[in-house]
């Protein structure tokens, strides 16, 4: 245990995802040794993120305005919505340049071990959007939903759950990314070609 603020810093860093106690210590001492200007810049960026970045009222993506750039872009097809777990998955799909529709970010996946049930995800918002009562009821009828949750246990369970719910929307076509994505992985880590092919070859589920 270190004294006061140093240990507080280590504890805070250790709470971040992917940072173990050893790395937390390393980062803390790196910051202690760094130039005051560097640390100030980091501090400012952190503050700006919290103050300036919000979640898009339509899709839940991170955004600087009320609507993110995809929801605000009139050239993007509003009739087709790609459902992903996290904002970083939006970036992964964008990198493929295969998709010209809109997004819906769930904010995670069903994960009973982590205490995440359907209420903790933005599923209600998705249903409202499909029912034409969401904040973007002006965007027109949605005709297709692509479920692009991670190809792992939690993502697959979430996909199955969504498919069941979406059956209640007559005429809606629901597709799932085609296989070929390495099972057990994260969408984020799939290379562009594989993910692009999975998007192009998506299969209908209902």
């Amino acid at each position: 245990m270190f004294e006061g603020p140093v240990q507080d810093l280590i504890d805070e860093l250790g709470r971040l995802p992917g940072v173990g106690p050893k790395s937390a210590q390393r980062i803390a001492f790196h910051l202690l040794a760094a130039d005051a200007a560097d640390v100030t810049r980091l501090q400012e960026v952190l503050q700006k993120v919290k103050e300036g970045v919000q979640f898009c009222e339509v899709c839940g993506n991170v955004s600087e305005r009320e609507r993110c750039r995809y929801c605000a872009d009139a050239r993007r097809d509003p009739t087709i919505v790609c459902v992903v777990e996290e904002p970083r998955d939006v970036l992964a799909v964008e990198r493929t340049r295969e998709f010209k529709g809109r997004y819906h970010v769930l904010g995670g996946a069903l994960d009973p071990l982590g205490g995440i049930g359907p209420d903790a995800l933005r599923i209600r918002e998705l249903l409202a959007r499909l029912g034409g009562t969401g904040p973007a009821s002006d965007e027109g009828d949605i005709g297709e939903v692509i479920i692009a949750t991670d190809p792992n246990t939690e993502g697959e369970a979430t996909a199955t759950y969504l498919v069941r719910l979406l059956k209640d929307f007559p005429g809606l076509s629901v597709t799932r990314l085609a296989s070929g994505l390495p099972m057990g992985g994260d969408l984020e880590f799939a290379d562009e070609m594989t993910l692009g092919r999975a998007l192009a070859g998506r299969r209908a589920l209902s």
């Binding site: 069903l110 009973p112 049930g117 246990t153 369970a157 759950y161 057990g184």
Partner: protein, 379 residues
């Protein structure tokens, strides 16, 4: 197949150890506690990504070290592959094949196949059903590496579903997703179950035959897969059968907060004559059954055209003359056998080959192969 080289760093008691190996017999001799089994365990880890002694990886890392490294050079059908594993406690392990990183360590499964006999094998007969399920699943993965994925998918779904049942019991949690998990449990469970059933069909005749050779005066051994689904199994419809059974026990599951149906509740029942072996077989008979299961694994893999590396960790001291002979006969036909013993006299004279002295934190080769023609014949 055979190992050409094994190197470990910070693995168990070893700060560093390197062994150049050849086809044929290699004997590691050294007094108790010098680290012989640790080396056998390292080889087994490359083959199965698990230890035959502990369920988690932490004890494999040398006390005070952050990670353990195992490197193995494997020769199979004239091709040589170099596998490196970095074992870190509480975090995902990393693996490289021919110096290129692989996405997941389980991609290395199948490169090295081994059958390990060890004193711990007695638990196959006397231990919990979990020991026998692990035996089946390890062998299944050794035969068909894709089952590593099936097994881990099943385990993950099972843990998720169990967590849901547990919270459902404690507070009135949302059960609207339970059916989703049922469906996934049944799908992955059926895949695992199908693999195990086929495996038991394949291994049972080998095990029964091996037992009659090893213990000719005992009642015959029988193997039977016991499934958590009662009644006759329809192998073409395992998934719907699992789903039906889940529906049957649903109330009980919610009350108790545990998952009551699925391959994680199954067992491989070992029978001796008319009754079960567990609780009835003598000490010697139990040993003979464990030995027969390993011999059968070896023969099954060999029949598939993969010659597994045979590892005999400290087993001869436990066996009587008949059983030693049976084991020696198999060892003699193996492409590579690695034997450990506390004293050289424990190793039957027929098993001649390279010899290493283990002790004081080093492994030193003390003889060349006793009979060079031996090496050529086997290689």
């Amino acid at each position: 197949m055979h190992l050409r080289r094994l190197a470990v760093e910070d693995f168990r008691s070893w700060e560093r150890a390197e062994l150049d190996l050849e086809p044929g017999v290699t004997v590691l001799v050294g007094s108790n506690g010098v680290g012989k089994t640790n080396l056998a365990e390292a080889i087994g880890y490359v083959a199965t990504l698990g230890s035959h002694r502990v369920a988690n990886d932490a004890p494999l890392i040398r006390r005070g070290a952050e990670r353990a490294i195992v490197r193995a050079q494997v020769v199979h059908q004239g091709r040589e592959l170099f596998v490196e594993l970095e074992i870190t406690a509480g975090r995902a392990n990393r693996a490289r094949v021919n110096r290129a990183p692989v996405l997941r360590p389980r991609e290395i499964l199948g490169i090295l196949r081994s059958v390990l006999f060890a004193p711990e094998d007695l638990a196959l007969v006397r231990g919990d059903p979990g020991e026998r399920r692990r035996f089946l699943d390890d062998l299944l993965v050794a035969r068909y590496p894709r089952y590593a994925g099936v097994r881990s998918d099943y385990d993950r779904v099972l843990r998720q579903r169990s967590a849901l049942l547990k919270t459902a019991r404690n507070r009135q949690a949302d059960l609207s997703t339970l059916e989703v998990w049922d469906g996934h449990l049944a799908r992955h469970g059926a895949a695992l179950l199908a693999g195990r059933l086929e495996l038991v069909d394949g291994i049972a005749p080998h095990a029964e035959k091996a037992f009659s050779e090893v213990a000719p005066t005992s009642d015959p051994l029988s193997l039977q897969y016991k499934c958590s689904i009662p009644g006759e199994l329809d192998r073409a419809a395992l998934e719907p059968m699992l789903l039906d059974e889940l529906a049957q026990v649903r109330r009980q599951e919610i009350e108790r907060g545990v998952c009551l149906v699925g391959p994680h509740r199954d067992d491989l029942v070992l029978g001796l004559g008319e009754g079960p072996a567990k609780g009835y077989a003598s000490h010697g008979e139990s040993w003979a059954i464990a030995l027969s299961l390993r011999l059968a694994s070896y023969r099954l893999l060999k029949a598939d055209d993969v010659e597994p590396v045979l590892i005999l960790d400290d087993v001869f001291a436990e066996l009587d003359a008949q059983r030693r002979r049976a084991l020696c006969a198999v060892a003699a036909e193996a492409e590579q056998v690695i034997v450990t013993a506390a004293v050289a006299e424990d190793v039957p004279a027929q098993l001649t080959g390279a010899r290493f002295a283990v002790g004081g934190g080093t492994v030193v080769r003390t003889t060349t192969g006793d009979d060079p023609s031996d090496v050529q014949e086997n290689g």
